[in-house]
């Protein structure tokens, strides 16, 4: 709603600029036109003065030309940005939802069913993954949400989540961590279509230095997501297959 309102205001401002420009041009032209016809009057009919178009005709031609130029500019911008958009690579984003959402359906430990999402669960030895996959892509909300909850009453130390994805041009890894119990990770595929691998390593020792290569996680979770056209998601670990 906000975007459409802003768009309308933008169009209005643009048209206003065109109208003001044409009005200013008309005032200048009218003054020149008046000067010319009075000069013709003073110098007589035989004077070498080329006829000028009337101010009304000038306004009509100028306005049509301005609108035509505006339309042409719009077409060019459309073509340029559309071409740019096709070259843009959309990368997934991984981030955590913090306590600011405590009273919302996305707050930790209050997930259950979330409207607009399909709910899947995956059990591990000590943790439970609640996976929420958006029913229709794209939308304003995250495409995939993953909750990592402990199945036992223990305080696990750290969680290191990674998302790896690949396309023809690039492969990237994203990193996020939480040091508290539970937590909701959000994976926004950002329009990316293809294979995304989500891994979550859990370190039950709070003092574990997760960045050290010789520190092995106590538990690892992995989801292989495959995002197809129209937002259809496949994930063998969750039992979601797409033909």
């Amino acid at each position: 709603m906000g975007a459409s309102k802003a768009g309308l205001i933008g169009v209005f401002v643009l048209l206003l600029i065109v109208v003001l420009t044409v009005a200013a041009a008309f005032m200048i032209y009218k003054a020149a036109y008046k000067r010319k016809i009075n000069r013709r009057l003073a110098e007589g009919r035989e004077a070498e003065i080329k006829p000028m178009m009337s101010p009304v005709k000038f306004v009509v031609i100028t306005l049509l030309s301005a609108l035509g130029a505006l339309f042409l500019l719009w077409i060019i911008l459309l073509a340029v940005f559309a071409a740019d958009k096709q070259k843009m690579v959309h990368y997934p984003t991984l981030y955590t939802i913090d306590e600011s959402l405590e009273n919302s359906p996305l707050s930790r430990n209050e997930y259950g069913e979330i409207k607009g999402y399909r709910h899947y669960t995956k059990e591990y030895e000590k943790v439970l993954l609640d996976v929420y996959i958006q029913e229709s892509f794209p939308g304003p909300f995250p495409s995939v949400m993953i909750s990592v909850k402990s199945r036992e009453s223990f305080d696990y130390g750290k969680m290191k989540a990674e998302v790896s994805f690949g396309n023809k041009n690039r492969t990237g890894i994203l990193y996020g961590s939480r040091e508290e119990e539970g937590g909701l990770l959000v994976l926004d595929n950002g329009g990316y279509k293809g294979d995304i691998t989500f891994t979550c390593d859990l370190f039950y020792d709070k003092n574990a230095v997760t960045m050290e290569p010789d520190v092995s996680p106590d538990e690892s979770c992995r989801l292989d997501l495959s995002i197809k056209e129209a937002g259809v998601v496949a994930c063998p670990q969750l039992g979601i297959t797409v033909e």
Partner: protein
Amino acid sequence: MKIRLLVSDEHYDAIAAELIKKGIDIDDDAELILSEKNVTVTHLIARRGDEIYRLETKDISHIESFAHDIAAYCGGEEYRLSEPLRRLCEILDPKEFIRVSNSVIVSVSHIKSIRPALSQKFTLTMKNGAKVDVTRTYYYIFKEFLGI
């Protein structure tokens, strides 16, 4: 019988003599007019009150029609003419006088300034201060006449 002659100066005497011979009086005030084709007049007979005046066309600023009255403006004064506007268009010098509306003929040499309007009109300010509008009907005629 009285007749008014609107002919060129070179033919005036001969025609006048011929008419007088036949018993026809030449009177500038007569209602019957004998005119020569493609001849323009250099003066008009006008009235002001009870007096009759001979107006030189070069002194006439503009001629305006009010219902059945035709008024000629000359030297700051208003005079009454007997010819209809359509007739005046035919006998006045077309290089000097131009019709700018259904009711006004102006003398171009008496125009002080021209102001274009937004629509297809001009407002003429005459040298005697009078303002006359060139209406839409005569807009292009006037433009072409002036060459603007």
